[in-house]
């Protein structure tokens, strides 16, 4: 089968790889019909996530058709078209029982801070991802969900990560009716966080980024204010001024480790990896929220050196209110929102790229070329 193949920082290709096999009685094999390149894949692509081994396949956002099931799979059958949340969750450890499916303790032997994630380095369990024609899906009884009849598979693929992560960013922020919400980052997750802030009753939503076409997109999609921090002397002072010198009630960090905007952070965090990525957005979030305010983090930070292990704060879901989205918990509500037309996820998709051109897709997305917001990969077997 064809699959994306990581060869080193900023180098990927498509190669022939062996078909995935059932390795556990609760496994399923899924034939991928759509997969995405996620903003957090770019951390892997740029070589910023430790234990990203050559030869692995990325991709934690995918939908597909069940081709084979293990002997203990009861909730899926061959032929089901499923959306597969990016978290691999057993459903029975202490953390899964609390709804913390992003923190499962039975899906990743390599690290305890983060649960298993498809195609997200060996630090997240060493699983091959969905940027391929076929993928092994463990714990098939737990998270994979049959796509509801009538739902577009391109809406469904966005429900595997982008939409739940943006939604959970707003949910974790505890937005109270009328609150001013600032979202750093107008990538797909930031756009969705801005959109969902309204669903929790925000009174004002402000998006901050430095790429004009993304600002234009979020302005239209999320009906919010959008500003370019390159035009500001200091984004923190800008937010203080625009909130009558109080600061925002809520600030969402939807950027993570590859933030632009601060030279020292860029050198120490992104280029030399001396800390867990550039923490520029996090600094701005903490400094621009009002006293007693809430900072919600969904931006991904690496696990290496930093003043605080902020990546682990995110991955462990500590009470700063940061976490990987627990997709399974949120899916019923989000499916309802999509079906009722409250959220239109596939509108974020700007590029549909054949899987064979995955290297160009990564370059397009990472270099922000051709007004790219969200690229979707289509395997040859899904084009027939």
């Amino acid at each position: 089968m064809l699959a994306m193949d990581y060869r080193g920082p900023k180098r990927v290709r498509v190669t022939q790889k062996p078909m995935p096999e059932i390795k556990h009685p609760e496994d399923a094999i899924v034939r991928v019909t759509r997969s995405c390149i996620c903003g957090s894949d770019l951390h892997l692509y740029n070589g910023n996530v430790p234990d990203t081994r050559v030869g692995t396949t990325f991709g934690h956002e995918f939908v597909g058709v069940v081709e084979e099931v293990g002997s203990e799979v009861t909730k899926l059958k061959v032929g089901d078209h499923v959306l597969v949340p990016f978290n691999i969750a057993c459903g029975r450890c202490h953390f899964c029982k609390q709804g913390l499916f992003g923190n499962c303790h039975e899906s990743n032997p390599m690290a305890t801070a983060v649960g298993g994630i498809f195609g997200y380095s060996h630090t997240a369990g060493g699983f091959h991802g969905g940027q391929a024609e076929y993928v092994r899906v463990p714990y098939a009884n737990v998270s994979p969900t049959v796509i509801p009849e009538g739902m577009d598979i391109e809406d469904a693929v966005m429900l595997t990560d982008v939409v739940p992560t943006g939604y959970q960013a707003a949910e974790m922020a505890g937005i109270q009716p009328g609150d001013t919400v600032v979202v750093f980052g107008a990538g797909p997750v930031g756009i969705m966080a801005a959109k969902c802030a309204w669903l929790f009753g925000a009174g004002r939503v402000i998006s901050i980024d430095h790429v004009e076409y993304r600002l234009e997109f979020v302005r239209n999609y999320a009906q919010c204010e959008a500003y370019n921090f390159r035009d500001m002397e200091d984004p923190v002072v800008f937010i203080k001024k625009t909130t009558d010198w109080m600061g925002a009630d809520v600030v969402i960090d939807a950027v993570g480790a590859e933030a632009a905007g601060n030279t020292m952070q860029t050198i120490t965090g992104r280029k030399t990896l001396l800390q867990a990525g550039s923490a520029t957005a996090l600094h701005w979030a903490i400094n621009s929220v009002k006293k007693g305010g809430i900072v919600s983090i969904v931006g991904v930070y690496g696990p290496t050196d930093n003043l605080v292990p902020i990546g682990n704060v995110l991955n462990k879901g500590l009470t700063i209110r940061a976490n990987q989205a627990s997709v399974k918990r949120l899916l019923p509500r989000l499916i309802e929102h999509v079906q009722n037309g409250i959220i239109n996820p596939k509108a974020l998709i700007t590029h549909r790229i054949p899987l064979e051109e995955v290297a160009d897709g990564y370059r397009l997305f990472s270099a922000k070329l051709d007004n790219c917001i969200k690229p979707v990969l289509i395997p040859p077997s899904a084009r027939m």
């Binding site: 303790h105 039975e106 990743n108 390599m110 801070a113 060493g126 007693g292 696990p303 897709g361 370059r363």
Partner: protein, 184 residues
């Protein structure tokens, strides 16, 4: 909230998920269960057979019930990774060797390609076709800068060689002086 709803009537779904009880400025942890107090004791899922080498964090007593088998450790990078997994996730000695191993692994990948008779197409793997299509000037600038840096390094090194020649020459004069001294 009712007044606010009127102000935002143009936003479909405004306030639909508002929950005044969700105020995380107070400690909260829903679904806390007694089971949580009993430690690492849940009924574990069936264990996946271990048929490749799996390195596991020393912050847990075992391997998780399922795991990926994408790229088992091998070669020099594998040796470095095994070293890294002797230390906890709390240690620099865990993460920094893993980053080093990743870089070594890239070189191993290129060697493997050649061993298998495959010459990696770096231009294609880096997706430069897309950059050429959408940002020709940027790509040309990038290559021009890279070429200038390489040229600069080459000139610097060749100057260094000339300096060495000068130094050799000086030594020769020095020897001559010494010779003269002996002569006198």
């Amino acid at each position: 909230m009712e007044n606010l709803r009127k102000d935002f009537s143009h936003i479909k779904g405004w306030g639909i998920d508002a929950d005044p009880q969700n105020d995380p400025t107070y400690p909260m942890k829903p679904h806390r269960t007694d089971a949580e107090q009993s430690g690492y004791s849940w009924e574990r899922p069936t264990l996946q057979p271990v048929d490749v080498e799996i390195l596991h964090s020393i912050e847990r007593p075992n391997i998780s019930a399922v795991f990926g088998t994408a790229s088992p450790p091998s070669g020099l990078s594998g040796m470095i990774r095994r070293f890294a997994f002797r230390y906890s996730e709390n240690s620099y000695l865990h993460w920094l060797p893993l980053i080093l191993a990743d870089r070594v692994n890239v070189v191993e990948g290129v060697i493997d390609d050649f061993k298998n008779g495959h010459v990696p197409n770096i231009f294609a793997e880096k997706g430069y076709k897309a950059e050429w299509k959408h940002d020709k000037i940027g790509l040309i600038t990038k290559f021009a800068v890279a070429a200038a840096v390489v040229a600069g390094v080459v000139i610097l090194l060749s100057n260094k060689d000339e300096d060495d020649d000068d130094y050799d020459q000086l030594n020769a004069y020095d020897d001559l002086d010494r010779y003269d001294a002996y002569d006198s």
